[in-house]
Amino acid sequence: MSTTVVEPWTEQPLLRFVGQSSARLVVVMTPAGQVLAQHGFTRAVDLMSAAALGAAIMAASGALAEQVGERAFGALFHAGQRHGILLAPCATPQGALIVLTVFGRETSIGLVQLFYDEFAAALQRAAPAEAVRGPVLGADFEADLNRSLTSLFRR
């Protein structure tokens, strides 16, 4: 299984998390769905879909939280027959991130959550202080996306 990263500081924490939790797929992304690191995906289209859907779910649950007077909800867990999904926020000096973890029957939500807490703490420690970001332009977005895809899938 391959692990690829756009942001080098995510690599060591991600490798450790994957090794400890036996997760099958992991995506570290921004709340906008921009992928910073991934493990287990082989096709760019699957990764980008998963990131977009994960970001959308977190945004929707955040909006729902506001409606019921909560500041935010914590992690979301979905249990399936063969796979489970943990979608959890992670605060870093680079800003809020979202981690999508897909795991199979060889591990459990208890183990994944346990090691996720360590992963989130490791990302917090590893993240450099926030860089000054310019305005997001359409042209930059496409270039950024292409750069990310090139880094993640080495092509």
Partner: protein, 117 residues
């Protein structure tokens, strides 16, 4: 049901040397009910005990030993005991080295029987 689970833990806790007791969901590795001494990391014990039970069950299945009912793991700092109950539950005990394993096992199997009904 919750009351019955807590009563069962309370009974096992009377065995000398117990540091933590939990009912754990075998599939999820999450605690359902717990009675822990301060400093015991319940979340970690639940997740790792369920993982241990799953691995041991897999090994027993591979050698044709049938379903695993009780697991005992002794370490330098203490003992982890796991008994499988119906309804996908495990009763997990974390004990120090003074524990009377036989008595602890007896109480844990009684707890398993008590939650069958």
């Amino acid at each position: 049901m919750s009351d019955a689970l807590e009563k069962a833990l309370d009974r096992i806790s009377r065995v000398r040397g117990m540091r933590g007791l939990m009912w754990v969901s075998a599939d999820d590795g999450l605690a359902v009910a717990q009675l822990l001494m301060e400093g015991v990391r319940g979340k970690a014990v639940a997740a790792l005990a369920a993982a241990l039970a799953r691995k041991v069950s897999g090994a027993a299945g591979a050698v044709g030993a049938g379903p695993v009912r009780f697991v005992q793991m002794e370490a330098e700092g203490g003992t982890l005991l796991v008994a499988r109950a119906p309804s996908d539950l495990l009763v997990v005990a974390l004990a120090d080295s003074r524990v009377n394993i036989g008595l602890a096992r007896l109480e844990m199997m009684r707890a398993v029987e008590a939650v069958k009904v």
